[in-house]
Amino acid sequence: MAFAAPQNPSRVHRIPQSKYIDAVRWLSPVSALDRFAAVAYYDTDTNSPSIEIICVDPNPQASSPILTPQSSWTPPSRISSLKTAHSTHQPILAAATFSGSIHILVSDLINGGTVESEATVSELGFHSGPVSAVDLREGGTECVSVGEDGRVNLVSFVGDSSKLSYRRIFDANGLVGYTAVKWASPSEFATGGYGFGLQWWDQRRPGGPVSQFKGNWCQGKTSGIVHSIDIHPSRKHTCLAGGSSGTVFAWDLRAQQQPIVLSGAGTGEAPISLLSESEVWEVQYDCYTRSSNIGDISSTRILPIMICSEDGILAVIEQGEEPLELLAEPCAINSFDIDQQNPSDVICSLEWESIAILTRNRTTNDFGFSIERPSFFWPVYLELLIVQYDYETLQESDNWTSVVTRK
């Protein structure tokens, strides 16, 4: 595999907006032609937040894609967390605000991408202070919200009642604050908080977290806050978390108290390349990057992940590999989202009031692997198909000749 290091094959477009962007999410498309995204804006001049559905037009003629706002909805205060779920026919959004309310929005992408509030919880005792994170369950009937006030609430919205019913799962009375949450299964979810602590909850066993991942595992000064959690649908025993000091780690529930550090504050054993030293705002499993080590697909290995950070890094991290930097911006990347239908596309919100859209091309590395597979493992006809496919995608690339001659 003596290939030259693949040049960064991604195309990036930065589209300036005139408002601060708190969060950005792709919406699952309803047709092959239109692509939509939900953006949580905050206009500092008028002090007004908004959630807008925008249509992303790739626009091959012009140099950069065109974002056309379709519709807008005004929340009562700034958005602290925005999640989407892929429901049967319409995308559902869950938006949490700094004033402690949760809003379920439904967007009708077929009829002009309108967005309207389906339901709202904003009772006084729901959360005291901001809701720090919310997560929608796949299928979109329930969402869980957490706050630094230590409350964990379960909001269910079955039927078309405009008032949501919520259930308090736990109240830590502020003794513990939660800053991130993610569903693992219909009854289980994970939360994260201060001191790199993670908690595992099971609705079937109420009264508190069923398992706790001890914070402060990195002893002393590098302790921090978990900002984002992701759990892969096929590996529910592993909880991936990103937080302060460029730390990305995984907690395997089967190996209770030993974190698998992927980046940042190391445990001191192996020198882990330091990608970023500041806050990792979001982590997501990256289904686009194929693991380079297919032979070792044991369940203990962490799948490739993507992170974005305060110091402007968007990168793909793989366990035991050099991280692949996709973007290095002069300003922070606050959030990003990988398009589930079209995972080569990533949308990011940049601190300097702009949205970046990144389109990745397959690197030559992947191609090399597909050829080198032993034929008993990889049928010849399949290989031919792949060669053809990759040949087409590689034609623009400089070093495709070297690849073909290798064959």
Binding site: G150, G174, L175, V176, G193, G195, G220, A332
Partner: protein, 727 residues
């Protein structure tokens, strides 16, 4: 500045802020002297009793309006007061606030890159004792910087080139030019492109072609003439009969827009096929002039594709070609064909164009509209070899005399300052016309090649508090940036480049940032980390810790105070925590505490007085085991943690009795005494301390049954006896 507030209460429900630059208090008068009125709506129903005004963030005023307390009947939904933010100043008309922010964001990287290169060069020249730091690389860096900034201000290229060229569209409409970009290009031309000084006149011609429309608002311009004529052109059947056609062409020729002139000439009626035969001579003359125009020799380095004129890079070649060209014009001017040309307007129009090309001062003066246009026409047709700012300046003075300025334009002031080599004037014009962003970024260009400007701007001035002008403007700009919630985070880049006061102001800026939301708080901490301001980091964390604590988010509060290693505050809040511990650490609520105790960790240094909680939890846990299983081993462990708790100085005295009362079962263990003599003695001493402490007035009694003390005493005494017997 005088601020007047007029509030109308009662039925009117509105108010207004008058901001006046003059210290005269007559309201009627101040409306006439350019006072601004900012109406706002306060929506209060009851009469206003009190007003308070303070500065809010940035350029806005916060006006608090208090209603008079209505004693008779208080309607519930009637607010007692309201706070209104009034934004002062409309900002720059042509550039919106959001666009300004975009420019501010974009200029951070070029500025920072140039600073670091400057530092590298200066440290290099110190090492090699090289007297001149300005080498070829240096000019490349400056040019790169200038181009980067220029690109931010908008592109001049037309958005899309039409596929089919419309012969009647004379001017191509590109992106609206801005004064800011025009000003930057001027600075770039004069200060960053040092080697091309010989071509300055031609650069100015290009500049005017791009930005002449900017003067249209306040002055008559060739551009506005062209635009007007363009509208008429569509309806004109015979263009050459229209005197405006010739007038506009002469004007365009005078300022050197050759391609426009040639394109317009080709609209001449004699080109039409049906008329070609009987207007042959006329057409020949028109075409001859068009060819002469397109062959005009020009002294410039490169020619854009599609632009007319022949380029010469070296002076002798240019002079030779120009002489030849002028001779051709003279020849044409004196040729006999003019008498054969029957069309009067064509004859007159073409000959006046020839006069312009020959550099007839009167023709140039009448063809141009304002002094810059006249100046450019002089540079083109009379003195194309003008070199040196001094002669350019005197020529500009002459042009101003011929065409005095009716009203000042900010770009005109800037040009005069640049040509007059007056750095102060250039700076003042930049500040007045374009604001602090412009000054800060222009200073880099001003000081790039001129020792004089460098001396002036970098000299420390006692009247500015020992800082130089460069630093002063950077501080001002940083102040502007910090006043906006989105741009404050780029202010550190500029502050850090200020040698004298930058660091202190950066510390103040960071200390003043709000800590309520984690994202902002972490941003401040990140900036502190970048500039190694550890003490500020600790302070911010302490503030955040106390803030969270006060708002009931105990876990977050403890975390931040731990991060700040603030043992003093941790001990203080520990006392408050213990108050609630006694009541709430029952077996059910233990899960709530579990998280906090885990957060505290086992490291007693970062936990402060809260270390007790950790041990207390351990003790409670082992006690739980005892009650569940009753094994002697479990009981022994419980005793161990009891003893270590009682030995620990951080255990508050008020917990002595509850701890002992909880462990009555251990003291009265059935099989054998679990505590030995010395251990029992220790507990007895502690009990004694407790009775002494109870005499103090600040002692807090624990909520235990009244006989608790006696039963503990009895149990301890029994245990002591049994232990002595056993030993």
């Amino acid at each position: 500045m005088v601020l007047l507030i007029r509030v109308s209460g009662g039925d009117l429900l509105d108010g207004g802020v008058h901001v006046d630059d003059d210290a005269d208090l007559d309201t009627r008068w101040c409306c006439e002297v350019g006072a601004a009125v900012y109406p706002f709506h306060h929506g209060l129903k009851s009469p206003i009793s009190r007003l308070s005004i303070s500065w809010s963030r940035g350029n806005s005023l916060r006006v608090s309006v208090f209603a008079a307390p209505s004693s008779v009947e208080s309607v519930e939904d009637d607010a007692g007061g309201t706070v209104v933010e009034v934004k002062l100043g409309g900002g720059d008309g042509e550039i919106s606030d959001a666009h300004w922010r975009r420019i501010a964001y974009g200029s951070v990287s070029p500025f920072a890159l140039l600073q670091s290169r400057k530092n590298a060069i200066s440290s290099l020249s110190k090492m090699s004792m090289n007297s001149s730091p300005y080498d070829a690389d240096w000019w490349d860096y400056i040019m790169e910087y200038s181009k980067d900034i220029n690109a931010l201000l908008g592109s001049q290229k037309p958005a899309s080139v039409p596929v089919i060229d419309d012969p009647k569209s004379v001017i191509v409409k590109g992106e609206e030019p801005t004064n800011l970009k025009a000003a930057w290009e001027l600075l770039e031309m004069f200060y960053a492109e040092k080697p091309s000084h010989l071509c300055l006149p031609e650069r100015l011609v290009d500049w005017l072609a791009d930005f002449d429309s900017l003067f249209s608002g306040t002055h008559p311009t060739v551009h506005s003439k062209l635009v007007d004529f363009q509208k008429e052109l569509v309806n004109l059947q015979v263009v050459e009969d229209n005197p405006k056609y010739w007038e506009v062409m002469s004007s365009a020729l005078a300022v050197g827009w050759l391609d426009i002139v040639v394109k317009m000439l080709r609209l001449h009626g004699s080109y039409q096929l049906d008329q070609l035969s009987n207007r042959e001579t006329e057409n020949g003359l028109v075409e001859a002039v068009a060819v002469l125009i397109s062959k005009m020799p020009r002294m410039r380095l490169d020619q854009e594709a599609g632009k007319l004129g022949e380029c010469f890079k070296a002076k002798p070649d240019f002079v030779k070609a120009r002489e030849k060209w002028r001779a051709q014009i003279n020849k044409l001017d004196s040729s006999a064909f003019w008498f054969q040309c029957a069309h009067l307007q064509t004859r007159e129009g073409l000959r006046s164009m020839l006069q312009i090309m020959l550099g007839n001062a009167n023709s140039l003066c009448s063809a141009t509209c304002h002094w810059i246009e006249l100046y450019i026409s002089h540079l083109l047709y009379i003195r194309p070899l003008t070199v040196g700012l001094e002669s350019m300046y005197s020529l500009a003075q002459k042009s101003i005399q011929l065409k005095p300025m009716a009203s000042a334009h900010r770009l005109m002031g800037l040009i005069i300052g640049i040509l007059g080599e007056n750095t102060e004037v250039v700076l003042a014009e930049c500040l007045k016309g374009f604001g602090p962003w412009m000054v800060v970024h222009a200073i880099e260009l001003l000081t790039a090649g001129s020792d004089h400007a460098e001396m002036l701007l970098l000299e420390e001035r006692p009247n500015l508090g020992g800082i130089n002008i460069e630093e002063l403007h950077r501080l001002v700009y940083a102040q502007v940036l910090s006043s906006h919630p989105l741009t404050w985070q780029i202010a550190p880049i500029y502050l850090i480049s200020c040698m004298k006061h930058g660091m202190v102001l950066l510390q103040i800026l960071l200390s003043k940032q709000p800590v309520q939301h984690n994202q902002l708080l972490l941003k401040s901490i990140e900036i502190c980390r970048l500039y190694e301001l550890h003490s500020i980091t600790a302070n911010i964390m302490k503030i955040a810790g106390v803030h969270h604590w006060k708002h009931g988010r105990k876990g977050s509060g403890v975390f931040w105070l731990q991060q700040a290693r603030d043992e003093y505050r941790l001990n203080r809040i520990a006392q408050q925590l213990f108050d609630s511990v006694g009541k709430t650490i029952s077996d059910e609520s233990f899960k709530q505490w579990e998280g906090l105790i885990q957060l505290l960790g086992s490291d007693s240094k970062t936990a402060g007085g809260l270390e007790f909680l950790h041990k207390y939890r351990d003790f409670k846990k082992s006690l739980q085991h005892v009650f569940d299983g009753k094994t002697t081993d479990a009981a022994r462990r419980a005793v161990e943690s009891l003893i270590s708790l009682m030995k620990n100085p951080s255990t508050p005295q008020r917990f002595y009795l509850p701890l002992l009362y909880d462990s009555l079962k251990l003291l009265n263990w059935k099989d054998r005494p679990l505590l030995n003599v010395s251990q029992t003695n220790l507990l007895l001493t502690k009990l004694q301390d407790l009775s002494l402490a109870r005499l103090r007035p600040d002692f807090i009694e624990s909520e235990l049954p009244p006989q608790a003390l006696n039963s503990v005493r009895l149990a301890l005494a029994t245990n002591l006896g049994r232990a002595i017997l056993e030993e």
